[in-house]
């Protein structure tokens, strides 16, 4: 059976009710090869031939030539296009020339570093000279002391991650002085993962790396790789702070691929509820596997992956029992050995299917599969393509299916296949000069080497004012214009690259000897682990017994409950500084600094599946204050008046737009709905105003992107509301998305998901705004 046959067959199934909303055919592509100006040295050529590589694809040639020319390069090609060779070849051939040279590879996860270590040692093992030459290993939290010393002293290709570089290498650079002196290449893999807060931190770590290298007299070249995003070159340049050449013409061959948009049907005529996406997803997966297609399913949460796994297994027991034992679930939280074993079995074909979270989205090599079933839009178009890329052989046909959830963006995409396939993926936004982030890294930088005037070129114009403040606080001491670290603190310890808040809360299980089961940043803690909250973790429900605000610990215990809890937030916003303004179609739009205050004042208990509210309790928690960046839109008074004349409430309409805008903005800016908050308020401007802000201290550029794309943002909202099939408003349009178990979302400025603001008011207001 071919994929085409399968697609025909499934439409004849009695469960089929027109779920297929769009089939995009991505044509097959022939391999394009290239020739290097100067051939690869013999020993390396032998090793490559041993690995079955006789010729290089055109993009590999482009990248290698760029690197040979001494340029910084970012390679943006598809999954399984042989990106690794783009840097392994120049690194190894340079080692043949200069055995003292060093390379540092950075991966976003330890698992990826392990995977790449395997690939690199396999390649080096194919030729005796290379085996002796390439001295490599992973240097991370799992590395033993002994191996660490050996790698520091002898290693020439070190595989690590940004967190380790930040806290485990740079502060100890004197121990690494020989390594840094000869550091020639820095590989930064999967840079699309370095966005938002993580990316802003990593950009600063890389600046610190560059100044340490400069101190020891080296100036390494950077080689980056990225999945497809809208702005890989810009992101790479922002991350490393240097000009970068882009290589994006993929020369690897591809079989034909079908990408299907699949919308679960309504369960009844009220058109409010759709058939469960997990059930639909498992059905597709089971059918595909039963027909002999090796399939991966992606769920947005661990619990979803587990559910799909369980359903599929059950169905296969009846449908094709011999395959029922050939599927597995895969997610974070499994032991590394278990994961490695699943990866291996997938690669070897022993497994027919795996239900995974996005843990398998990053480039771990599991070979190429026949089909990918993506249950729920993963949040970004870039991520969707990454997951879809797991399916796709060099010659055979492959299939990717996106199964929609019943929420705004998923439903929008179902109606706008052309948008999904034509729109370039999102911009990855980072802001290395966010002053909160920057000041933490300047402390780390000063600990590593005194900060001088020259550092302004690396860290930007805020460097001096921040450094002067730090001296005022006695963290630094100025001597001859150089700012030295002057305390006994160890500043890298104060910075976690993956969260922003100074205060991280620990979540401990009282039933398990207070073992730590998770951490949550201080901004989210009070909305997530307030007393009596139900905290969802690895598909289990935990009850929060106590929240210790002093020690920043939430004490939880496992408890079987049939409800989840939803915080009720009260928030307010105050404009601090207007930075930009423009008239957009007669309305004023602003961008600037704002202070947002909110408090979790109560919570509701909501029954799983039925979503009925079954209880309400008040809370007494402190306020959270955030000084951040915001955009605000002030609809002209006559517009608002017009809507009122039509018998509708324009403020309710604005609330509806706010709800939609929070969902739509992530389509332009590579962020998550949780990264953005929104408030409608009249007290700042004297007239109803819609605010959207970054939920990060100092802002990270999301609201700013929204300010510049206000037209597209509002158009997106109008399309969403006009095309939604509901009557008076639903969670797929003006309502905030219904909280699903295991996906905690904030319900900012809105007392829960219900009541839903009036849909018609929102639509009329948007139409009026866009008609001018």
């Amino acid at each position: 059976m071919t994929i085409t046959d399968f697609l025909e067959r499934i439409q004849l199934d009695r469960d089929y009710q027109g779920q297929i909303r769009h089939i995009e055919t991505i044509p097959a592509r022939e391999a394009a090869y290239g020739e290097l100006a100067r051939p690869i040295p013999g020993v390396l050529r032998t090793a490559l031939a041993g690995a079955g590589i006789e010729r290089l694809y055109s993009h590999q040639v482009d990248a290698i030539e760029g690197i040979r020319d001494g340029r910084n390069v970012v390679v943006v090609t598809g999954t399984a296009s042989g990106k690794t060779l783009c840097y392994n070849v120049p690194v190894i051939e340079n080692l043949l020339d200069d055995p003292n040279a060093k390379a540092l590879y950075l991966f976003p996860t330890k698992a990826l570093a392990q995977d790449q270590l395997k690939a690199l040692t396999r390649l080096a093992s194919l030729d005796g000279t290379l085996t002796d030459l390439v001295r490599t290993g992973t240097y991370d939290g799992d590395t033993t002391r002994h191996t660490r010393r050996k790698l520091r002293d002898e290693g020439n290709v070190i595989l690590s991650n940004p967190d380790m570089l930040h806290a485990g290498i740079l502060p100890y650079h004197a121990k690494w002085n020989r390594f840094f002196k000869d550091l020639k290449y820095v590989v930064v893999d999967e840079i699309h993962t370095y966005r938002g807060i993580f990316g802003s931190n990593v950009a600063n770590v890389l600046r610190r790396l560059r100044r340490v290298c400069e101190h020891y007299g080296s100036s390494p070249q950077f080689v980056c790789s990225s999945a497809t995003i809208a702005n890989p070159k810009e992101l790479a340049e922002r991350l490393i702070g240097l000009p970068v050449d882009i290589v994006e013409k993929d020369g690897s061959p591809r079989g034909k691929k079908y990408f299907v948009l699949w919308n679960p049907p309504y369960v009844d005529l009220t058109k409010m509820e759709r058939r469960s996406s997990n059930v639909e997803g498992h059905w597709l997966m089971a059918e595909l596997i039963a027909e002999g297609f090796q399939t991966i399913a992606f769920g947005r949460a661990r619990v979803v992956a587990e559910l799909i796994y369980r359903y599929t297994k059950d169905t296969l027991e009846r449908r094709k029992p011999e395959y029922a034992s050939k599927i597995k679930a895969y997610r974070g939280g499994y032991l590394p050995q278990e994961r490695r074993e699943i990866e291996r079995q997938l690669f070897s074909g022993e497994l027919m299917g795996v239900a995974s979270t996005n843990a398998l989205e990053l480039g771990i090599d599991v070979g190429s599969l026949d089909a990918a079933v993506i249950v729920g839009f993963p949040g970004t178009i870039a991520s969707s393509w990454q997951q879809a890329g797991r399916a796709g052989r060099a010659s055979d046909e492959s299939l990717a299916v996106l199964v929609a959830y019943n929420d705004p963006i998923d439903q929008y995409l179902m109606r706008h296949g052309e948008y999904f396939f034509r729109q370039s993926p999102e911009n990855a936004v980072i802001d290395p000069e966010n002053k909160y982030i920057l000041s933490k890294h300047l402390r780390c930088a000063a600990f590593e080497l005194p900060v001088t005037d020259g550092d302004e070129t690396l860290f930007g114009k805020l460097t001096r004012p921040i450094v002067e403040l730090l001296e005022e606080f006695h963290d630094l001491k100025e001597l001859d214009g150089r700012y030295y670290w002057a305390t006994t603190e160890y500043p890298a310890r104060e910075v976690s690259l993956r969260t922003i808040s100074d205060a991280t809360y620990t979540i401990v299980d009282v039933a398990q000897d207070n073992s730590v089961i998770g951490v949550v940043d201080g901004i989210s803690a009070l909305e997530l682990v307030y007393p009596e909250a139900i905290y969802l973790h690895e598909g289990e429900t935990y009850f929060v017994r106590e929240l210790d605000l002093e020690q920043k610990v939430a004490y939880v215990e496992k408890k079987e409950v049939d409800y989840y809890t939803q915080p009720v937030l009260e928030s307010s916003i105050r404009i601090l500084k207007e930075k930009q303004t423009k008239t957009w179609r007669g309305d004023q739009v602003f961008f600037g600094d704002a202070a947002v205050t909110w408090v979790t004042s109560a919570f509701k208990k909501i029954k799983f599946y039925q979503l009925d509210s079954i209880g309400w309790s008040n809370l007494d928690l402190p306020q959270i204050q955030l000084s951040t960046a915001a955009l605000w839109l002030v609809p002209a008074r006559d517009l608002m008046h017009e809507i009122r004349e039509m018998g509708r409430n324009p403020v309710e309409g604005l609330v509806g737009i706010r709800n939609m805008a929070i969902s739509v903005l992530p389509l332009f800016s590579m962020c998550d709905r949780r990264d953005i908050g929104g408030i409608v308020d009249s007290s700042n401007t004297g007239s109803p105003t819609m605010f959207l802000y970054d939920r990060y201290e100092g802002g990270l550029g999301f609201a700013e992107t929204g300010y510049h794309a206000i037209e597209e943002l509002m158009r997106g909202c109008l399309e969403l509301v006009s095309e939604c099939e509901c009557e008076t408003g639903c969670p797929s349009c003006v309502g905030l998305p219904v909280l699903r178990p295991a996906i905690q979302q904030d319900q900012e400025g809105h007392a829960g998901a219900w009541p839903i603001p009036d849909k018609e008011s929102a639509r009329l207001l948007l139409e009026a705004m866009l008609a001018r």
Partner: protein, 269 residues
Amino acid sequence: MSEDFKDRLSRIGRPGGGPTRTRRKVRPKPARLEELAGVVRTDGVLVVDRSVGDLATPDSLAETLSAIERTGRTVGARGDIEEEVRTLLGHPEGALFIDTETTGLAGNLVFLLGAMRIEKGDVRLTQVFARDYREERALLESWIEMLSRAEMLVSFNGKSFDMPILRDRLGYHGLESPDEPPHLDLLHPARRRWREVLPDCRLQTLEWRLCGRKRAGDIPGEEIPGVYHHFVRTGEMADILTVFHHNALDLITLADIALALSAPEDDPA
């Protein structure tokens, strides 16, 4: 910069709040380090060179040292003494006893280098001190010079601490690491010898149990980095002089331990 931002910045790494810090009370005199007895050089780094006898040190010290010289002559044939210790005692004039004070465990700088040697019956103590962060380089240059003259290094835990950090700092400043002479790290023979009978083998435990000395007015090691930063910032003398004293005592105890190691095994520690 907004007040709010300043406030937040001031709280990074200080859970207790603002940037204020309290130091121990200040005792006057000498007003400047350069007035210390024994200062021989102040260009780029402060070098204090004194006879140990001139220090306010335990009375037993002179005895220890003459004992070392005496023992050295008789120890050569004794098989129960570890070989390196025997070498030291046989030729104490070539040995350089070293102890460094740093601003922390790793990634930090060396600000005080104490080196003691026996010279024609006198015991000379040289302390090289970086009066601020800029002077570390000159301190290390002095170190290179001393190292080139030493025939043997004697330390306590120096193989794991002092020498690696000195090497790292040389690397940091782009200074060539010179060849190192044999190094007797007394921690190891001391452990072998007294592990069973003493609660632990920290330097000050040995000092108390072997030499019967307890330190008064000494500064705990973990406070030393803070004292140094405070000195750099304020120039206040009292606490940093305690560090000089601490460093000197550590070196003297080193000599005591070496001597104790030469005593027969059944000697009660």
